[in-house]
Subunit: 207 residues, 4 copies
Amino acid sequence: MHLLTRFSRGELKLNRIEAFSDGVFAIIVTLLVLELKVPVLKDHHSVAELAHALIEQLPNFLIRLISFIIVCKFWLNHSHVLGLARHADYGLVWTNSMFLMGQSFIPFPTALLGEYAGNPLAVSLFGCVFALNTMLFIALNQYIVRRLIKPELARLQDPRGFAKSFIGVASYLLGAAAAWISVHAAFVIYLFTPLFYITPPHHEPDG
Amino acid sequence: MHLLTRFSRGELKLNRIEAFSDGVFAIIVTLLVLELKVPVLKDHHSVAELAHALIEQLPNFLIRLISFIIVCKFWLNHSHVLGLARHADYGLVWTNSMFLMGQSFIPFPTALLGEYAGNPLAVSLFGCVFALNTMLFIALNQYIVRRLIKPELARLQDPRGFAKSFIGVASYLLGAAAAWISVHAAFVIYLFTPLFYITPPHHEPDG
Amino acid sequence: MHLLTRFSRGELKLNRIEAFSDGVFAIIVTLLVLELKVPVLKDHHSVAELAHALIEQLPNFLIRLISFIIVCKFWLNHSHVLGLARHADYGLVWTNSMFLMGQSFIPFPTALLGEYAGNPLAVSLFGCVFALNTMLFIALNQYIVRRLIKPELARLQDPRGFAKSFIGVASYLLGAAAAWISVHAAFVIYLFTPLFYITPPHHEPDG
Amino acid sequence: MHLLTRFSRGELKLNRIEAFSDGVFAIIVTLLVLELKVPVLKDHHSVAELAHALIEQLPNFLIRLISFIIVCKFWLNHSHVLGLARHADYGLVWTNSMFLMGQSFIPFPTALLGEYAGNPLAVSLFGCVFALNTMLFIALNQYIVRRLIKPELARLQDPRGFAKSFIGVASYLLGAAAAWISVHAAFVIYLFTPLFYITPPHHEPDG
């Protein structure tokens, strides 16, 4: 009877949503780094030519590293937030799918920025995509907190958490705007934004 | 003795089939979006040139978004239907493998349509592939409902569900036919088809 | 104390080996089909040109389909055999890793055959790689049956199973040899080999 | 109350970290081998030309095989070490993410070495990347042993294990240095380094 009730209410188990999401996250972070291309050398044995080519790839590598860290942060937040839910439902599946679509789009502006780091549009788009992803995460978080939260965890929720979570969005959009004045300023803002929310949302550390 | 019986009857655990399927789905949706290529610019710092190149990629991006949503819908249906089964057997593994093969073929007509959105054959093939995938899902659904369904869930099944599930197939084929008269009409049909069955099959919502 | 004993004996849980293997299998089957390339057309709107290009890709598609089915068959056998084990150990991890390396090599001869279907060396290599993979699976199977089998399942094992399992190896090698006389004969042999062992090893069906 | 305590202390379940890590490992090992490119032949039917092209790819294939084995060894060690932990926390997620980033970087120096096996810089970089990865693993191991180890397993830890684990780092750096004198000497050192620690850390085998 319990199983029947669960099905007729459209309740789903969380484990497959987690497995699907973990697969998507794993592919995104791995391909971020895997997409680094082997440089083409005229003289295969030349140390100087290879060193020069690798140094030229360094900014591209660093940009991918920033994206890697940000996606890992999203994974950690996703892991935390799904841990709050007592079960899944169809609304959660779709909110989560939209969030994952946003995540799987991240390698594109990352690659664009790696190629055209001096182009204000590329730098600005990078920030806009991360702002969008942060908003998609906020939507996922809100959906779970409002509808699916385990009763015993409800009182752990910080009532100002919803307002606070827009700091990340604002910071990425600030970076996206700053790109049109100075691409270097934008990079500094992007670099510091994940540090703001490196601790998970609504979590009180010990001591 | 129970384990022995299970093995001699060819019963398999569902969890590995789910893990394998989730991996395949995760790769498909991620690569759908990941395959967007960084445009080649003559002037790396030109905002106008990059903006022009990105706007040119917009239809390609939208087509990938449609495929992303449809594959997520297939994932949700797959998740629902496997939840009905009490265990797996060899027939299920093969029905599921054929279904996954159909899914992993989706990025090809998607990329084809992204490249040649004005070519009736590309537009038509897109619809045919989704009609085929819907039929493969119907086969999977029928296999589980007829042979492996948990007894307590059997009475939840809508007797008209089997007939209803062909609406999606018919709609995709209609789009595929319409492509030869107007590619725009086909796009409209493709866009609305998943909305028809955005709720899972055989599910009665609350209230 | 039980956990301590388990660790000091080098016993490992099976679930991570299964998850890792399922991930590898999922990537292999998906990329087999995903690697189909969008043809380059001179006239983007020409139905005839696109139809011609797609028909030219048909043999490549069929070869990938054969590989897809064979890898799914390996997945099914892998799933069956790991279900026999009571736990994992370091020897199993390495035997399994070698097996997975063989599997992840499959897309290479598949792509080679898709490109050069008329080249006897490409056709022959395809059979040799599948013969090698079948041998790696036999090694995995033997390792589990000899060292890690659940006691209650031991009597299910067919004593002639070990000898029987070499039929697949012999058949693939026969195809590899036949390729030097007729590539078509080799294709027929490859196509029928997985059908021989489409039922799992050592399994007695009902009725 | 227990769940509340767990959340307020920032404790996380290990299973999603394992699933995410297994996904990353699966993609890395599979793509290592999948990246082998089909050679371009002038005469599609020429056995001699294809044989020549494949033999030319052999060193590239062998280098990828070495990386495959090393990454599988890292997976085994990762699996062993996470099995020691009683739960996860935010520090573990970040230490693990840094470790996975190091792992996902492995295909790049591998591809570089496959292309430019005679270039001392490429050979040296290969060793440096593996030394770095070994250090990242040591950090992960230390984090778990110092903060998260299951009490009953604490006495299994070899007090000299920490010092011993730097042998791998030293050996890879020795190879990286040797590359500037003889690339062949470096290859020999790289080949033997994983054999040193093919048994898991801190494990006492039977008998």
